[in-house]
Point group: C2
Chain length 252, copies 2
Amino acid sequence: MADEVTAALLIIGNEILSGRTQDINLNYIALGLNQAGVRLKEARVVADDEAAIIAAVRALSAAYDYVFTTGGIGPTHDDITAECVAKAFGVPLRRDQRAVERLLKQIKAEDLNEARLRMANIPEGAELIDNPVSHAPGFRIGNVHVMAGVPRIMQAMFDGVKPTLKGGLPVVSASVVILAPEGLVATRLAAIQARAPDTEIGSYPFARQGRFGCTIVTRGTDAGRVATVAAEVAVMARELGAEVEEEGLQAP
Amino acid sequence: MADEVTAALLIIGNEILSGRTQDINLNYIALGLNQAGVRLKEARVVADDEAAIIAAVRALSAAYDYVFTTGGIGPTHDDITAECVAKAFGVPLRRDQRAVERLLKQIKAEDLNEARLRMANIPEGAELIDNPVSHAPGFRIGNVHVMAGVPRIMQAMFDGVKPTLKGGLPVVSASVVILAPEGLVATRLAAIQARAPDTEIGSYPFARQGRFGCTIVTRGTDAGRVATVAAEVAVMARELGAEVEEEGLQAP
C-alpha cells in the first residue's frame, strides 16, 4: 500500500513471559495506531534482560518508522529500560531535572529517595512523555517512544503521543460474516484477493453454537475499493449457498 | 540458572497487529511451559508476510531450544505458515497422506476441495501434531512446533505436545504483596536481589482503592531458596513500616 507508515511494539517484562500477567497493551496500541494512520507491523516481548532489550530496540528502530516500548521504567532493580535504550542509541543516561520536577508533583521531597530518582534518569537528548496518572514520565529518543507497562499509565502516555504521530493514509475495513466454514469459500476468496491487490483480505474462523463460520475482513486505504471488494465477497458466499451477515465500513 | 531450557513463541496473524483480535495464546503457552520446566524467553508477533515469517522462524529456531508458532494453518489464501516454515528449513512442502486422512475425519470426501487440502500440505520430514478439536493437524519440524491460532484448537494441540517436551528444573515462585509504593522498598529490594543471584526478583506495581502497592515475586528452581528470599523481602517491607500479605510457594 502506498504511503504506509509503520511501527513496532516492544513489550518488556518477565511477567508477560512467565504468564503472570496477560498483556493488553498491544491491542490498545494497535487500535490507536490505526486511528493515526500508522500500521503496526511487528511486536516483540522480551525479558528484563539488557542484551535482549538493546538488540530489540536497535533492530526495530532501524526497521520501522516508529517504535513503542512498554514496561521497565519504574524505580526497582528490574526496571532497566531507560539505561538499555540509552545504550542502544549510544548516548549517556543522565539525571533529568525536568523529570525530577515531575516526580515532585507526586512524591514529597523527603520521600524522593535514590531508587525513586532512577525514574528521572533519561537518555541525553530525549524528550519527555507526559504521565498524567502518576507523573513519572516516559520519553522519546529518535523514533523510539518509551512508556510505562501499567495499562492505565501506558494508555494515558500513548494518548498524549498519538496526536504527534505523522501517519499515512488511514485504513478502513469492511467485514462479511459467513455462516459456513472457511473451506467452502477459500478458493474463490483467493481469486478475489488476487484481483484486488490494493486491499488485504483476512479470513478469521469462529464457532457459534457448534457451527463453523468465518469473518472475512477487507482492509485498505481506499474506502470505495474496500466496500466494493467486501460486497464481492458477500455475493460470492451467497452464490455458494452460505448465509451472510454484512457489516459496513469501519475505521480501521 | 542452571539447566535452563528455553523457548520462543511466534504469533502469526494480521488480526493481532490490527487490534481486531486480543491474543490469549501467549499467556496459555507461558503457563504451560512453566509447568514443563521450559522458560519462555521471547515472543514475536508478525503479519501474514512470507519474508517476516521466514526470518522470525530462522532467528528463533537458532536462538532457543523450542519454538512454538500459532496461526496461519487454515485453508485460506492468508494461511501461509506451512509454506514459510518449509522454506525456513529448506525442505519441500508436500501433500501429506496422513494429514489427508485426518481431514477426512472432519470433512466429507466430496467436500475436500483444493483449498481444504492445503491444510494437508506439510513440510517434508515433519511429524504431525494432533488436533482433537477439528482434526486438521499441526506439525513439528526440528525444534519448531506449528499450531493453530484459534485458542481452543491451539490449547488442545499444545496440551498434546507438552508431555513430549524435555524441560529443565521446574521453576517455583513466592509472592509478597506490599501495601506501599514500590519506591519505598526499591533500594533494599535491589540489595536483596544482589545477594540472591540464584533467584529472580520482580516488582509489579498496582493500585488498589486509590492506594499504590506492589507484588514482589521471587522465582527460582530451589524452593528452599525462593522461600527464604521471599521471607527476607517480607521482613524488609515490615521494617519499613509497610503492611504485607505473604503468599506461599507456587508453581511456577
